[in-house]
C-alpha cells in the first residue's frame, strides 16, 4: 500500500516533489566531492609510500608508528612495529571515524549517498526507515569518543607543524611553502575539531545551569560561535588535508621543489 506523501489520507499529488528549483544540485555536488576524496584518500592511504619529505610529513601518515615507516618520519618511535600494512591505516581510522560520525557529515551523506531524504520535501525512495535506532547507525552515538581521538591526532599534527620550522638537517629557522600549507591545514583542522557539536556539548552544553559554571559558560559561548560555521570548517579542512598530503607527495616523488622563504 502506498505510504508517506502518497498515503491514502494525504492530498493526492502524483509528483514526488513540486519543487521547481535545482534541489538535486547540492546533494550531487556533495556526492561528487566526497566520492573524489574517498578515491584519493584510499589510494594514498594504501600506497604506503611518498609521504615524507624532510621536514614535512603527510597528515595521512602522522604519527607514523610502525617499523616500515620511512627513515626520519617516526617522531614517536615504533610502538606498533609489527604492523606490515601501510602505516596510514592505523591512524586514519580516528579522523575517519570522527568525520563519519560528525553531525554535519551525517546530514551531508544521508542526503547525498543514501537519499534519506535527497532534499527537503523531496520524497525519499526507501519504503522503510529506522533512523539511527539500530545497528549499525546506532554507533553514531559514539561520536564524542572519536572527538577525543581526533583531538589527539590534531595535537600531533600541530607538533608536525612546529617541526616544519626546522630544515632537513633539523636546524631551526626554516620556513617553506610546505610549512605554510601544513600550518593552514592544522588551523583548519583545529577549527573543525573545536567547532564540533559534541565538543560544544562536553565543554558546557550539557549543563542545566549556566550561572553556576561561569567559566564553562564562557567556553560554551566561544565554541558555539565556532559551531555556527561547522559545515564550512568541515569542507575547508577536508580540502586542506588532501592538499597537504598531495603537496608532500609531490615533494617526496621529486615532482616539485619546496620554495623556501627563509
Amino acid at each position: 500500500m502506498a505510504t508517506g506523501v502518497f498515503g491514502p489520507e494525504r492530498a493526492s499529488v502524483e509528483a514526488r516533489t513540486l519543487r521547481p528549483d535545482r534541489w538535486w544540485l547540492p546533494p550531487l555536488t556533495t556526492f561528487v566531492v566526497f566520492a573524489a576524496f574517498i578515491v584519493y584518500s584510499t589510494w594514498r592511504a594504501f600506497s604506503g609510500d611518498d609521504y615524507y619529505a624532510a621536514p614535512y610529513i603527510s597528515p595521512f601518515y602522522s604519527p607514523c608508528l610502525t617499523d616500515n615507516c620511512v627513515e626520519g618520519s617516526n617522531d614517536f618511535g615504533s610502538p606498533i612495529g609489527w604492523w606490515g600494512l601501510s602505516p596510514a591505516l592505523i591512524i586514519l581510522i580516528f579522523p575517519l571515524g570522527f568525520r563519519l560520525s560528525c553531525y554535519y557529515y551525517r546530514k551531508a551523506y544521508y542526503r547525498a549517498f543514501w537519499l534519506s531524504p535527497p532534499a527537503c520535501s523531496v520524497a525519499e525512495p526507501h519504503s522503510k526507515y529506522t533512523g539511527e535506532t539500530r545497528f549499525p547507525l546506532i554507533f553514531q552515538n559514539i561520536h564524542r569518543w572519536f572527538l577525543y581521538a581526533a583531538a589527539v591526532v590534531a595535537l600531533i599534527l600541530t607538533y608536525d607543524v612546529v617541526l616544519a620550522f626546522r630544515d632537513e638537517n633539523e636546524d631551526w629557522g626554516h620556513m617553506g611553502l610546505g610549512t605554510v600549507i601544513l600550518l593552514a591545514n592544522v588551523v583548519l583542522i583545529w577549527l573543525y575539531t573545536l567547532s564540533c557539536h559534541s565538543c560544544r556539548h562536553v565543554i558546557g552544553g550539557r549543563l542545566r545551569n549556566f550561572s553556576r559554571h561561569p567559566v564553562r559558560y564562557k567556553a560554551w559561548t566561544l565554541v558555539s560561535r565556532l559551531n555556527r560555521n561547522h559545515p564550512q570548517w568541515a569542507w575547508l579542512s577536508l580540502f586542506s588535508v588532501a592538499l597537504a598530503d598531495f603537496y608532500v607527495y609531490l615533494l617526496a616523488t621529486g615532482a616539485f621543489d619546496d620554495p623556501r622563504f627563509f
Partner: protein, 254 residues
C-alpha cells in the same frame, strides 16, 4: 502596478483531488495569501484555506508553495517572477481535510504526551529565581509559533506514516530541549526524548531548520543537544562510571 498571476491550487479532499489552474490579478507588495484570498473572493468562493493573523505569528496558514513548506502570509509575490506559476498545496505530511486545509491533530497528540514543566519548590520568600544567562538560553525556543512546518517537512513522518506513533518530531524536540535545559525543571527528559519521543529516528538532515519561519536553529540548538544528552545517559561509559562512583545522578548539580 498590478499583473495577472498564474496559480495552481490543490482542490479536493481525502477521496481525491487535483491541481487547478487560476489566473488572478495581484498588486506589487502582496503575499501568496492575498492572491489566494482574491481567488476565493472572485473565482472559487468555496476554496478552503486556514489563516488568521496575516503577520507570521499565528502559524495558521502553513502550506506548500512550489513544493516547499512555507507560511502563505510571509511568502512575498516579489520572490517570484511575473511569469512564474505559483503552485500551492496543503501540507503533505498530514491528512487532508479539504483544499488547502489539513488535519494537524497529530501534533496536539504529541504535545499531550510531553510532561509539563515541573519546577522546584519556591525559595523561602515564595519566589523562584533564575539568572539572566539561563533565561536567555530558552528564549530562542519560545519563539516557536507552532506552524508545524518543521513537522511537515521532516521525512521521518512525511515519508513514513508508520513512524508517527513513535516519533514526536522537531517541534517537540525543541520543547524537550527547552525544558531539559531549564535549571528549575525537575524532570529528567533524556529517557523520554529517546523512548517516548523517538529522537533516535532523527537523522539530523536539518530540513526542520531550513523551513522554520522564526529562524530557530532547531537542529543545532535543540535536537543535537538532546541527542548528546541521551548519549550522556546511555552511551557514554565515563559519565555512567561517574554516576556509579558518586552514587548519584549528577543532573541536580548541573
Amino acid at each position: 502596478m498590478g499583473y495577472p498571476l498564474s496559480m495552481r491550487l490543490w482542490r479536493g479532499d481525502r477521496d481525491g483531488g487535483a491541481l487547478q489552474d487560476f489566473t488572478v490579478e495581484v498588486e506589487e507588495g502582496e503575499v501568496v495569501l492575498d492572491a489566494i484570498h482574491r481567488v476565493q473572493a472572485t473565482q472559487a468562493g468555496d476554496l478552503a484555506v486556514r489563516w488568521n493573523c496575516k503577520a507570521g505569528k499565528c502559524g495558521s496558514c502553513s502550506a506548500e508553495i512550489n513544493g516547499r513548506s512555507r507560511l502563505m502570509c510571509m511568502t512575498r509575490l516579489s520572490d517570484f517572477g511575473h511569469e512564474d506559476v505559483i503552485t500551492v498545496t496543503p501540507l503533505r505530511a498530514f491528512p487532508v481535510v479539504r483544499d488547502l486545509v489539513t488535519d494537524v491533530s497529530y501534533n496536539y497528540v504529541k504535545a499531550r504526551e510531553l510532561p509539563a514543566f515541573a519546577p522546584t519548590p519556591p525559595d523561602a520568600d515564595g519566589k523562584r529565581r533564575m539568572m539572566q544567562q539561563d533565561v536567555e538560553r530558552g528564549q530562542e525556543f519560545r519563539k516557536c509559533i507552532e506552524c508545524f512546518l518543521c513537522q511537515n517537512t521532516c521525512h521521518v513522518i512525511r515519508d513514513h506514516e508508520e513512524n508517527k506513533p513513535a516519533f514526536a518530531g522537531p517541534r517537540f524536540f525543541l520543547r524537550y530541549a527547552e525544558l531539559d535545559m531549564h535549571p528549575l525543571d525537575t524532570h529528567d527528559r533524556r529517557e523520554l526524548a529517546q523512548s517516548a519521543a523517538g529522537i533516535g529516528l532523527c537523522n539530523i538532515t536539518k530540513c526542520c531548520t531550513e523551513v522554520c519561519p522564526e529562524n530557530i536553529k532547531i537542529t543545532d540548538n535543540a535536537i543535537i543537544p538532546m541527542k548528546e544528552r541521551v548519549v550522556d545517559r546511555k552511551y557514554d561509559p565515563l559519565v555512567w562510571l561517574g554516576t556509579k562512583i558518586r552514587r548519584r545522578d549528577d543532573r541536580t548539580e548541573l
